[in-house]
């Protein structure tokens, strides 16, 4: 089983819809969970991060972590065409200098 699983999509939704992006993981030592957004030919940009189970909200974005199910989600409300990008989940064990393990990324298209 891969450490981090993420459906690569593509996922196409109409403008204004709520988007749900998900990842599962197998390593119970992961404690730090992140979502990155990557536009075409650009580097990953950190969107949100969280250390614990539960929800964290930032504007139109909500990150949700369920450690018991090893499942994380990113919700985007009132989606905009500018949200069209690849979204990568990522996680790490939080030890010093620890590496980040990325999901493969989900390509999202918001249709005007």
């Amino acid at each position: 089983q891969k450490e981090v699983e993420q459906d690569p999509g593509p996922l196409s939704v109409p403008e204004g819809a709520i988007v749900s992006l998900n990842c599962t993981y197998s390593n119970s030592a992961f404690q730090y969970f992140m979502w990155y957004r990557q536009y075409s030919r650009k580097g990953p940009e950190l969107l949100m991060y969280t250390y614990s189970s539960g929800n964290k909200e930032d504007g139109r974005f909500t990150a949700q972590v369920d450690k018991s199910s090893k499942y994380i989600s990113l919700f985007i409300r009132d989606s905009q065409p500018s949200d069209s990008a690849t979204y990568l989940c990522a996680m790490s064990e939080l030890s010093e200098d620890d590496k980040i393990i990325f999901g493969k990324g989900t390509r999202l298209h918001i249709l005007p």
Binding site: Y32, M34, Y36, R41, K42, G43, P44, E45, L46, Y49, L88, A90, S92, L94, E96, D97, D98, K99, I100, I101, F102, G103, K104, G105
Partner: protein, 113 residues
């Protein structure tokens, strides 16, 4: 807003040649990283660097790879003898502490012919 920069944006090289990819991390950051992303695949960790030495490296980071911080601002990744399968986007990242808020550069696209 401070950002990580990388040069060149695109490097084309012949198989067997040496390449050096350059990164300028954010100035007060102390932890540095290289990642790569082969087209259509996930971002993979290569190496982390702190206090002028490698902290951790993946199995991808074999003897053909090396990293260096030659001065107070640059952080380089050298591939000694490139192979076709080294073709990828290479991302540099840096963080102020080890708390994992890593900031990524725009990447260098390496094409090995």
């Amino acid at each position: 807003e401070p950002e990580v920069t990388q040069t060149p944006s695109h490097q084309v090289t012949q198989m067997g040649q040496e390449v050096i990819l350059r990164c300028v991390p954010i100035s007060n950051h102390l932890y540095f990283y290289w990642y790569r992303q082969i087209l259509g695949q996930k971002v993979e960790f290569l190496v982390s660097f702190y206090n002028n030495e490698i902290s951790e490296k993946s199995e991808i980071f074999d003897d053909q790879f090396s990293v260096e911080r030659p001065d107070g601002s640059n952080f380089t990744l050298k591939i000694r003898s490139t192979k076709l399968e080294d073709s990828a986007m290479y991302f540099c990242a840096s963080s102020e502490t080890s708390d994992n808020e890593q900031f990524f550069g725009p990447g260098t696209r390496l094409t090995v012919l």
